[in-house]
Symmetry: C2
DNA sequence: TGGAGCAATTTATCATGATCGATTCAAGGG
DNA sequence: CCCTTGAATCGATCATGATAAATTGCTCCA
């Protein structure tokens, strides 16, 4: 950039704040630009070459800036003709992974998770009563079929618990409150990871299976009837039961990066 | 969600799966390496030069990988002697910003936020009853002093609301449940941004000021006394009041990137 | 003549390596 | 005590080539 080809047209904002590195500043400039222009997911961003010209910076710098935006899930980029960078909606999976990183070094106990589930899941259930299509109710019932019979061994038990958590995650995704849906889904995700990677729920537990399943059957019924208060009460009991049965388990903490 | 079927196969070396770009693969390798070694925040990572040698890749590739990890808040990097890259704990601010990106294109109404606040904040208040030091209680009371008198104009009104939200954010940070604390803090952050950037709470509202303040005073008292149920009830009433007064406001949605 | 398949071209991003600049800390000299 | 100097390390640039994918266009057979 110390060359005659230097072209600093729209760099007035940068010169003032050399505090952060250039790629970071470029990334933020692009973010602001997207907001300003009101671009939507799928819209094209300028290509590498144009950005290089626009910012008057080297290719590597621009590429690092795009990596930042990619890592945050804000843009996706394709190679080839017609390729380039595009505005991308942050996926729920990526958001969960990024948030999971935050909790990596924090101490989060099973009981912490259940304190939240008890507060949130009944609210979610109540808000969905009478608002689900038959197709959606059918999807929930299909998940229930995955553990129609008690588990025979530890492996089967684990799979059933993952399926059971998918029941809650699915319910969450049906919700119209994106915030509530995400939080519930996030916690189901944590528990799924713990189940799969940390051998949580290692012991088959007939009592949890029987009562949990009957709760979920009753819940679907209440949702179909549109009985919000019943749905809330059932979910509350369901969560309270699960928490009680979890008390035996060790207070495992999060100790792994959730993958994108 | 991740299922056992898509568990990482033989990702021992990179050449096997060129599905994702090299920088991404390097970043994940470093993540895994950190987990494997059980490194803690502040621990040193290999320098650029060593990573170049270790992975046999070009400097730019390594740098892009580090940018990815920096964007996720997982590493920080310093120049100069003794510099290099270090494992970094993801800050709450960054986590809020990253999660905020997820909701950027989602429709989130004020009512959605309050549905969650009503469910969570009382729970937080109850869990903190009798668990705060006098210093912490003093910090809360200090915030209260910032709006001891009703606001005179719109600007003052806005500042008072930001301070009021900081009351909730501060309370959240005192909590021992990191999950609950983050969620409450996150929503206070959203409302703060809406207040500052979108002229929410534009009209001085004497009723909200009077009742809100008396609620918070009563809440501090209950917290000091260690009366969990009273704290829960007061916070619930406080949130319900706020939601009711919010119903007049338009159902503004999130439309801006929260800054890092 | 038509068109299905395949290879060459085109247009992007992706990756490399050499080189120079900027920043930081710490040790010595005024 | 300041403050210059120097070494270590990341930061940025440039030129060049590699790789990937959509398009073009050509061949060849029915």
């Amino acid at each position: 950039m110390r060359h005659p080809s230097e072209a600093p047209p729209s760099r007035g904002e940068f010169a003032a704040t050399p505090r952060r590195s250039r790629p970071v500043r470029v990334a933020e400039a692009i973010k602001d630009w997207v907001v300003e222009k009101g671009l939507k997911p799928g819209d094209r961003l300028p290509g590498e070459a144009e950005l290089i010209a626009r910012f008057g910076m080297a290719k590597g710098t621009i590429r690092e800036a795009m990596r930042i935006l990619q890592a945050q899930g804000l843009v996706t980029t394709k190679t080839g003709p017609g390729g380039g960078s595009f505005v991308g909606e942050v996926s729920a999976d990526r958001a969960r992974a990024l948030l999971g990183n935050y909790f990596f070094f924090k101490q989060v106990s099973i009981d912490d998770i259940y304190q939240l589930r008890i507060a949130l899941e009944p609210e979610l259930a109540a808000s969905l009563a009478g608002r689900l299509t038959e197709e959606q109710l059918g999807a929930l019932e299909a998940i229930l079929e995955l553990y129609a019979a008690p588990a025979a061994d530890a492996t089967e038990e684990r799979d059933q618990h993952v399926a059971s958590l998918r029941f809650h995650a699915t319910l969450a995704r049906f919700g119209s409150n994106a915030l509530l849906a995400f939080f519930v889904d996030f916690m189901a995700g944590i528990l799924t990871d713990l189940t799969v990677y940390q051998r949580l729920y290692a012991e088959p537990n007939l009592e949890l299976w029987r009562q949990g399943r009957s709760h979920q059957i009753a819940l679907i019924d209440a949702l179909r009837r549109g009985d919000a208060e019943a749905a809330r009460a059932i979910m509350h009991e369901h969560m309270t039961l699960a928490r009680r049965l979890m008390e035996d388990q060790e207070a495992v903490v999060m100790k792994r990066f959730m993958q994108d």
